[in-house]
Amino acid sequence: MNRTEHPRAWWLVLPVLLVVAFSALIPLMTVVNYSVQDIFGPGQRVFVGSEWFREILRDSRLHAAFGRQLMFSASILMIEIPLGVALALAMPTRGIGVSFTLVILALPLLVPWNVVGTIWQIFGRADIGLGGALLRALGSDYNYAQNAADAWVTLLVMDVWHWTSLVALLGYAGLRAIPEACYQAAHIDGASRFAIFRHVELPKLRGVLTIALLLRLMDSFVIYTEPFVLTGGGPGNATTFLSQYLTKMAVGQFDLGPAAAFSLIYFLVILALCFVLFSFMTAGDER
């Protein structure tokens, strides 16, 4: 194909460039700037080099929050991905049931995060919440505000309720894209239902599942609103994840320097995790 260069086309890219600059690049540079200074007030600042970074990396409370964060992300991924695939497999493929299931599945995705938190905060309450009261009536002393395990379970169930649909919808789209002949060939080859899943469906789903996994990983790694609304990070620090810790540091205590250093490390960790996962999941493609 013949490509002609149109220098004027750059002008069309300019608006996006400006938006990205103001929404991402400039704030990021500001954060980098903060991370190497000690800021006492407007106009009063001292260059401190990498001190904040060293301090942050030694912070044991942060280590704990990081551990909880990893634990949370790993748990929801291990639940949501298989559950979403199972849902996608169970969904009807034709008839009125299709639209019905799609709408039902899409509903949780449409609920804003703080509302999700509020819904579950009320739902789980022992006095006025349906879920909490039900568990009480069944003889459990469930209380997410006082028991760390209960808080964790509530958070996990909430995230699964909120986001499994995404995996299911992506998986459903992936399954619908598999040509009928692949199934027919597998039937003729005498494959069992499990073999069809393992050798026909799963390989074809790898692309969409990679996307689902990355989306859920990134999203769960920066989860903030829901635990903030539901438990406020408690009881104790049991559900204080990285973003909440960061907010406390930056907005609560106005430790801008350490918070900025923390942000950068946080950013790099997510980037590295996604990179590792992505490389791992697409490793087979080049062979």
């Binding site: 040509p179 002949a181 692949c182 027919q184 060939a185 039937h187 003729i188 080859d189 005498g190 494959a191 069992s192 073999a195 050798h199 026909v200 799963l202 390989p203 074809k204 087979g284 062979r287």
Partner: protein, 355 residues
Amino acid sequence: MARIDIEDVAHRYTADAAWAVDALTHSFRDGSASAILGPSGCGKTTLLSILSGLLHPTRGTLRIDGREATGLPPRQRKIAQVFQFPVVYEAMTVFENLAFPLRNGGMAKDEVKTRVKATAELLGLTASLDRRASGLSADEQQIVSLGRGLIRPDTAALLLDEPLTVIDPLRRWEIRQKLRHVHQETNATLVYVTHDQTEALTFADEVVVMDQGRVMQVGTPRELFETPKHAFVGHFIGSPGMNFLPCRLAGRELLVDGHRLPVDRNAFTDPGSGELELGIRPEFLELAREEVDGALPVRIRSASALGDHHLVRVALGERPLQVRVPDGTPIPTECGFLRFPPEWIRLYRDGRLLT
């Protein structure tokens, strides 16, 4: 390998739909290579799905080696199928792909290995056994799916559903060679579905021509070419297809557009009176510059060179005809004379051959 008989098989997809396949009765002989030929939508893929068991016919019975098999699922029929688009298990190597049907049947490891080796040898896949199936080209993938069909020791028949559709034209010939080689080596019962007559005629020793769910004619490529039993077969087979002219029988001669043509009256029983159609292949018409006995005057409309022959469009009165003239024969420029050799004239009433 096995013989497959279908008897009065009919299928429609919904109760109020037209019959996709209508009252078919046919036998695919043991070790034969048959082609099912027809235009898109003629029911050939439906028929294939009925044979392989992916579809249960609305009516009729199917027997494999004389044993009733109408209700059997695909895996129990032991009929293998190669699809239009190459189907391979992408995450597996070529070896694993070939071994898949065997492993599903619970075959012992050593035996699997031996059979995979033998099949790979037959198809020329030995060098790529360890490669990932997803990395192969379309034609190699199609060979792999062919191999999966052939590998089971008890395969009754191998069905091929337009297997060359997505294959590069240059590689088609190669795959067709391989298929023929496989057929000779294994003596497999092959059923090959296609809408491409060249494919069908070069591949098969028996061709089933279908249209609108019905079998129009079954025969060798030669029979289909020389004596189409149905006007549709005349149109569909050949390139270009048969010429047709309305005519009447008058004693020992044919009346065509006011002209008289001699005809072999012994070739068919008396059709009585009424409209008939004369069919003759472009290959059998003889075009001459000078008037010869029994030839009709025609106007030349156009001529195009097609390699080893010329295709000449002529008009008999207002009726267009096509004539295939071998290279080297002089072609008249404006007017010519067209001879209709009586032995190649076929007569049709309502589209059916008079016999």
